[in-house]
């Protein structure tokens, strides 16, 4: 029997049963085995795809080792982001300070790789041992003539969300330093799109076909030079709102660039993401015409293929546990399109507003959960008889152990799930896992129709 911890009761809600008195946006309960990582993780995931910068992790070896080439963010050119750089702090530096080692490491990396910028991530102990990272960065930046940006990502200083904020602040320092002469009046920045399996390229292609210039993809196939001139764009289009809304707001305040929140997952949301941009540029009606043509063409390409999936998946049940709640909204719509029912929806970092919206979207009986853990997830997946789990690597074995299908919707994925072709890929992946004959042998299914 799996018990829910007292401290966590208010982070779990079953729709319909009780009034919605939800508690979220708080630190993880000690000893609960949260699926969250830390502040450093938040910063690292956001900045990771900036491929022509060196990313130096200042601290003991673990933080760098566990994030080496960890994500599926593709680059069309340099690939510095796929390397793992660490100052590998030793006991000696814990006692005497790590500034010298940091400075030397930075100089070495800049000399070897000639990057366009350097990000220096502070991990847990850096503040505690009293290193003045800002001063080292300033010095090296002056000597080497490139931006050297400290990222205040000490693991304990909040949650993953605070890491996003620290990353936004570092990026913001680059913005405004580049030339914007050739930026058109119909131009956008794509924000919060990490180019996993080339997704940013798919989206960029759509916008360009509509006649919209993409100034910077920021954190997907990112380049320092593009970010530097991102302030020239007329609109910021923000996906993964949890990580990038802060930067969009900073840009709105400083440069007067408005922003919209979009999602590229699912036919409905990706179409809307294109239309919204077209509506923004209503001064050029041509953009909307092209958007409509594009949507029509792309939908007609995938719709016939989708029927097989929809037929097979109708009535199957899904559990969603993802990083940000915004992705969960899109997933619910996508699963509904496939005729599936969502029995659990949760996220690591959603806020109250997100969960209220999530609750509205869900049917009675759906479990809504914040900052969950393996025991809770397994409990509800079993109780609600899920056929599918959508999550990341840490959720995968929970599903597989119980003979439940799994779809990786996290940053490690290698198949693009965004855009129209992404909807096809997503449906195919869900179909492949839910309908696999291997589940017939799973112990849980032996009693009802499975094989010995």
């Amino acid at each position: 029997m799996i018990k829910v911890l007292d401290e966590r009761v208010k982070q779990i809600h079953e729709k319909g049963a009780e009034p919605f008195d939800f508690d979220c946006d708080r630190r993880s309960t000690a000893g609960s085995v949260s699926q969250r990582a830390c502040v450093f993780c938040g910063s690292r995931v956001v900045l990771y795809p900036i491929a022509d910068a060196v990313h130096l992790i200042h601290g003991p070896i673990g933080c760098a080792a566990y994030t080496w080439d960890i994500r599926g963010s593709l680059s069309s050119g340099p690939e510095l982001h796929r390397l793992s750089f660490s100052t590998d702090i030793q006991e000696e530096e814990v006692i005497f300070g790590g500034e010298k080692k940091l400075e030397k490491s930075l100089n070495e990396l800049i000399d070897i790789y000639k990057p366009k910028a350097a990000f220096v991530y502070s991990t847990c102990i850096i503040g505690v041992i009293g290193d003045d990272v800002e001063a080292v960065c300033r010095k090296v930046s002056k000597e080497k003539g490139i931006p050297v940006l400290p990222v205040h990502s000490e693991g304990f200083k909040g949650t993953k969300k605070d890491g996003y904020a620290a990353a936004c602040e570092s990026i913001f320092k680059i913005i405004g330093t580049g030339n914007t002469d050739d930026v058109s009046e119909f131009s956008i920045n794509i924000m919060g799109e990490f180019n996993l399996a080339g997704e940013a390229w798919i989206i960029k292609k759509y916008y360009e076909e509509m006649g919209v210039q993409v100034v910077s993809t920021m954190t997907g196939d990112g380049r320092v030079g593009d970010i530097a001139r991102a302030h020239g764009a007329k609109l910021n289009v923000v996906q993964c709102s949890g990580s990038m809304t802060k930067l969009a707001k900073m840009m709105e305040e400083r440069y007067g660039i408005p922003f919209i929140r979009v999602s590229y997952f699912g036919i409905e949301d990706v179409s809307e993401a294109l239309y919204e941009v077209a509506r923004f540029f209503k001064g050029n009606p041509e953009i909307m015409v092209k958007a409509k043509d594009l949507v029509k063409r792309e939908i007609s390409k995938i719709i016939p293929e989708m029927e097989k999936f929809r037929k097979a998946l109708r009535g199957k049940k899904a559990a969603i546990y993802v990083g940000g709640a915004f992705k969960a909204f899109s997933l619910i719509k996508q699963l509904r399109y496939l005729g599936m029912e969502v029995v659990l929806a949760g996220s690591q970092t959603g806020n109250k507003e997100d969960y209220e919206f999530l609750r509205e979207m869900c049917n009675d009986g759906t479990i809504i959960v914040d900052d969950s853990n393996p025991l809770e997830l397994s409990k509800y997946m079993l109780e609600k008889k899920a056929d599918l789990c959508i999550g990341g690597v840490k959720e995968r074995p929970i599903a597989y152990k119980l003979g439940i299908g799994f779809c990786d919707h996290n940053h490690e994925r290698k198949i693009p799930l965004a855009g129209f072709e992404g909807m096809y890929n997503f449906s195919k992946e869900v179909y492949n896992t839910v309908l696999s004959p291997v589940w017939k042998f799973a112990p849980r299914n032996r009693k009802h129709g499975g094989e010995r």
Binding site: S28, E91, P397
Partner: protein
């Protein structure tokens, strides 16, 4: 060769670590704790340590791996982490109902100076008379040593905390080191076949490579029972594996000091010679000669080595990973005529070179380069000079393999880009057979694929 020598110096040129060939010590602690029955690790520090390590291990083992965290925030860093530690001990006990909890420290809790042994004494005192799990702690700051130090420190902490010598048994303590789940199962089989009862620590052969479940297990079944660990002080003898481990303080040696249990240090039983050493010891311990099954396995292996020897003779390999593992693989490769031209590790016990040299008689320092404390960029730079025929090690060498267009034989930990990495058998004659086949077929496949003719007989 001069160039290579230049590069030898080059590897020391950089202060910065690029693509580390080691992990941090709490990871080693977590693995040991997953090898004790109904146990739970708590990493005393930030949430990320536990989560990152879980993710890293899951990608290799494909099993649920729950590791709790005491979840530091700024206030713990200022005021100390005792109340958070208490809360996590309570919560882990409530949720998981473990028999034993191991609290491993992290760089953060060590740097702020948390006195975890005292916290635990107070925690236990406050709960006197109540039923609580066994709790012990181990100091594993990631700024000291690698995951292997974390692994062995944790074993030492377990045997310092748990065993007594009241119960004398016929059992033999076995400290197998960090090997695969298939290796652990094979070791148990060998002991069983000799009629010797092992208390193997850790034993993650089931917990990290288990079966499919009907209902969710809060803690994966399997592992060394605490009741067995308690008997380790009264065991007949101890065996520990690890060439470099033999030089340092270890769990086995601590048991010898404390309870007088004789400890034999062997290399990891990879390849014929090291397996022979183990089998000799097993014969002595059991008073039985080696079972026919192993005689046959050994003979078949020798027969196979005759069949394949020409393919591998003189082949140059780059070997990397944990020091003891590298020593084991190098020993096996030397037996079949493959030259481990570079033996490299991110670990730095100080004994790797000596151990490799002692088994590589007749080879010069240029023919076999030994490097400890290196990262993958160092390894790559030397490898490019050596121009090896293959690379032997964990999946993190894939980038190098791709860069120099030479095949990678995946062994050890982690294997993040294949299914079944945890099931690779390295030890015993059977493991040597599988390694031999893998190495030889890798050579054959490479020749076949790059041959303009494409022979179908090789």
């Amino acid at each position: 060769m001069n160039k290579v020598m230049d590069n030898k110096n080059n590897t020391d040129k950089y202060i910065v670590t690029r693509n580390a060939c080691k992990l941090c010590s709490p990871l080693g602690a977590s693995i040991v704790l997953r090898g004790i029955e109904n146990s739970m690790p708590i990493l005393h520090g930030s949430q990320g340590c536990a989560t990152y390590i879980r993710r890293y291990l899951i990608s290799h083992f494909n099993e649920p791996i729950d590791i709790a965290s005491s979840n530091f925030t700024e206030s713990e860093v200022v005021f100390g982490g005792s109340s958070n530690l208490n809360q996590s001990l309570d919560n882990v006990t409530k949720q998981y109902e473990p028999d034993i909890i191991g609290v491993a420290t992290t760089c953060l809790s060590e740097t702020i100076g948390d006195d975890v042994p005292r916290f635990l004494r107070e925690y236990k005192k406050e709960r006197e008379g109540r039923k609580i799990p066994e709790i012990f702690t181990v100091s594993t700051p990631s700024y000291k040593g690698s995951h292997m130090e974390g692994f062995h420190q944790t074993l030492k902490a377990v045997v310092d905390a748990i065993p007594g010598d009241e119960i004398k048994t016929d059992s033999v303590n076995l400290f197998p080191g960090f090997i695969s789940t298939a290796d652990l199962r094979h070791l148990k089989e060998i002991f069983e076949d000799f009629g010797v009862n092992p208390i193997m620590l850790p034993d993650y052969s089931e917990t990290l490579d288990g079966t499919s479940w009907e209902t969710y297990n809060k803690i994966s079944p399997g592992g060394t029972p605490v009741s067995e660990i308690k008997k380790m002080g009264g065991a007949r003898e101890s065996i520990e594996f690890g060439k470099t481990l033999s030089e340092v303080e270890s769990a086995g040696k601590n048991l010898e000091k404390k309870f007088g249990v004789k400890c034999s240090s062997l290399g990891l039983p990879i390849g014929i010679r090291e397996t022979d050493t183990l089998m000799d010891l097993m014969e002595k311990l059991s008073g039985k000669s080696m079972p026919e099954k192993y005689v046959k396995e050994r003979e078949r292996l020798i027969d196979a080595m005759s069949d394949g020897h020409k393919y591998v003779m003189g082949i140059k390999a780059v070997v990397y990973g944990e020091e003891d593992f590298v020593a084991g693989i190098a020993s096996m490769l030397l037996e079949i005529g493959v030259v481990p031209s570079l033996c490299a590790s991110g670990g730095k016990s100080g004994f790797l070179e000596e151990k490799i040299r002692s088994m590589a008689e007749g080879y010069t320092d240029e023919e076999i380069i030994v490097k400890d404390g290196v990262d993958f960029m160092d390894i790559s730079e030397i490898a490019k000079e050596i121009n090896p025929d293959m690379i032997v090690g964990n999946s993190k060498g894939y980038t190098l393999s791709r860069t120099i267009n030479k095949p990678l034989v995946r062994v050890g930990f982690p294997i993040h880009d294949r299914i079944g990495g945890q099931r690779i058998l390295h030890i015993g004659y059977r493991g040597a057979q599988q390694l031999f086949d893998m190495v030889t077929n890798t050579v054959i496949q490479y020749r076949q694929d790059s041959s303009p003719v494409g022979y179908t007989y090789m």
